[in-house]
Subunit: 243 residues, 2 copies
Amino acid sequence: MDGMSTTASRGTYHHGDLANALSSAALDLARRGGPEAVVLREAARQVGVSATAAYRHFAGHEDLIETVQQLCQTELVGRMAAELAAGVPESDPQREALRRLRALGRGYVQFAQSEPGLFRTAFCHRDGPLDEQWAALLAAPGFQELTATLDAMADTGVLDPAHRVGAELVAWTGVHGLSMLILDGPLGALPAAELEGVINRVLDAITTGILGREVTPGGGAGIAPRTRAGGPTRRASAGGRHT
Amino acid sequence: MDGMSTTASRGTYHHGDLANALSSAALDLARRGGPEAVVLREAARQVGVSATAAYRHFAGHEDLIETVQQLCQTELVGRMAAELAAGVPESDPQREALRRLRALGRGYVQFAQSEPGLFRTAFCHRDGPLDEQWAALLAAPGFQELTATLDAMADTGVLDPAHRVGAELVAWTGVHGLSMLILDGPLGALPAAELEGVINRVLDAITTGILGREVTPGGGAGIAPRTRAGGPTRRASAGGRHT
DNA sequence: GACTCAATGTTTACGATGTCAACATTGCAC
DNA sequence: GTGCAATGTTGACATCGTAAACATTGAGTC
């Protein structure tokens, strides 16, 4: 993770921390070029070690890239958490919960935009038992925050309990598809300003899709308590408010 | 595209239709193993031709996989259109528009599920000008149907015109993220029945996200005309109605 | 009908990659 | 100190993408 000892020409025969050096070199490769750029020989080269030395610490290329994938997932949830912490909390608990939901979504998409290589590596296809492949991510702070936020939304009454179930997946699939279409799809061709509008439109839609109704973007007490048929508010433009 | 002449041992020196034979062989590789499985030498091998012969018809591996990607995209929109045609039309134009929207979404996800290799190839990362990379897909029948369906939703009044803008992207990002998380994400680990529920929950949420309100799943005249503050209906369970 | 030539395939070869087997070096335990 | 297990190295092999040089053929042209 640190800076030293990952560059070539060490004096000693033994490296001392090859496993970490290799995986962080591989992480750098992923950062620059995505999963395809994670090549074992190159990582070894950058660390200044023979290619086959890697086999003392990794079962092979597959194992190396799996490790990198975990690191990428960790960075992703880190970014989500950072975005959460960056914003200013709202006093009203309902608005606060909504703010957190949006912050998590924005963090997700922003990570994809700012670190496309890492994001694509975090979700690159790999075969093997899926459970263990994703267990860490699901248990990580960023995703736990999502669950907690949705719970808070239900508790404060913004979110009808009937809509609570499956809400994390609505959120996740939404931001994931958005990110993917930006990186590997046609959305990457959009000019920045336009893309910003699309992102906000989709994030709005995700919130709406979770709640089952819209929510006022700007003004006053638009959010109904958890009485039935809580009055939905008027409309929302498609453009780019929020940041 | 046909069955013959793609297998080895031809008599003549000249193949006659190498370009097509190679790309359909490559398509088969993609079907089985996704984009990583599209290897030029193997395609040539299956056609019964030397590896370098491919260079008479493709600029290189990149070019071959680009061709395959286009084919995959075509199959995707084909599936969407098929799913559209498969369902029984509703008499009420509003319900009909909603049915079409859902059919397109289901077709998208079902294609991803039934042809994971092709789906992943259709959206595999490639560098180069994005515009031309996606122009064909956006112009294809399946996606034109999406636009038309959303227009119909606006015309019939189910969809508030203020919500019309950007609606295709809400739909697309939603089903895309869902598909991706099924293929390359944690959703692939879910048992079929449970996954079915998730899919329906997300498709519901997409519709809700587009409309800005919910829509009655089963019963009578729940859809309001386009008067303002059209009365949103009660609730929707998370489980698996619809098919 | 023979000749020409551009189109199409083939052979050979090179560099890069993942990986294995055999060998070298070193730190640590006794 | 000695011996052994851990850790690196060298060399080799199969596969892949790709370039250069060569071979075959079909389609015009006289």
